[in-house]
Symmetry: C2
Amino acid sequence: MGAYRHVSLRSYLVMPRPLSAEAREKAVDAALSLLTEGGISGFTLDAVAQRSGVAKTTLYRHWGSANVLMVHALDCTIERIPTPNTGDLRTDLRNVLGELREIANSGAHRQMMFEVMAAAANDPDLAAVQQALMHERTRPLRELIQRAVDRGEIPPVDLDEVTICVEGPFMARVLKSSEPVTAGELEPMIEFVARGLGAPPQA
Amino acid sequence: MGAYRHVSLRSYLVMPRPLSAEAREKAVDAALSLLTEGGISGFTLDAVAQRSGVAKTTLYRHWGSANVLMVHALDCTIERIPTPNTGDLRTDLRNVLGELREIANSGAHRQMMFEVMAAAANDPDLAAVQQALMHERTRPLRELIQRAVDRGEIPPVDLDEVTICVEGPFMARVLKSSEPVTAGELEPMIEFVARGLGAPPQA
DNA sequence: GAGATTCGCTACGGAACAGTAGCGTTATAG
DNA sequence: CTATAACGCTACTGTTCCGTAGCGAATCTC
């Protein structure tokens, strides 16, 4: 934890002493670790202050409210995951779903995901961040499907419609059980999805 | 709201005055309406007491804690949904997904679902109820798939594996947007899933 | 009717949490 | 070195919610 985009808004201006980037970074890291451990219900400013070593008053000086810090911290986790291109639909699927599998299996990711989605119903900012996060995570799927269409491996499709269908089985599996998803579980899904996309039978 | 199974544990015994079934029913109804409106965060005993007209102290006399009442209320929502048999895979899918669509579109169902799933991580009782609820809701899918195998419309499958793949696209769609799912959106999913199951091309 | 028990009401106690005030300390700009 | 502003600390208010105590009134069994 540390390679996120910490935007220090005022560090370019000449001031006696800008809001310290160090405090922001420590606070965001603590916030994220609390969020992944206990979900939104485990995220309190008292806890962030204690874990980060940044005083609660300073947290308010930087972000103004607990919610803003939480949304900012989640926003910092948005990152592009690589999209390998192997020239084969099933192999591409295996690679990307393997990546998503590791994300889903890490920590108490489940609880956080659910709570964020629930809370997003009452918080437009949070909803936007959550939307962006999900969109970024499924981007590789959209890309590999588009490539399969381009090379003629599968017939043309409505990309948005079909992406939902492709990620669906994986998401349903993650929702269904808190057990980690194994690599072996992915295989039947890949075959199902490849057939659904209209790919020719496996070589 | 009223056709749930309200089990009055002591109503068969001869006692001066049993815990009133009326109070239980009103409390459960109020609890459920609060849960569907505001999710778990909208569920408080004060709110249940106010909406149901049952005193908070009486709620404790019946259930002992807020959590027990909540789990009991959710347990009361478990009900079998009918499984039509039309003799055609795609038509069966259309019927069952149509049922699930209505459930998913009703009220603020989304938020409740997420919060319950998140809370289930820390509460075995709640997890059990949630598991049972999901299992009951997807039972028709398992049944219609089994029938399609039996009549030779699709090749034999691992039922659990494949059910996840079939419900997946629908669930992914529900998760993705808070907009109601339209009947038209189901069609591409049905075709995708039918192909995934190995059904012959549409007539 | 007599006795027992439930019900509703009001009022508490206690915990957790958001957010603020005040004050002394520390680091930076000039 | 000096002024300025951020920092950490402690303490506080206000709110929300769980869970409980005590009371009188209503109701059921016998």
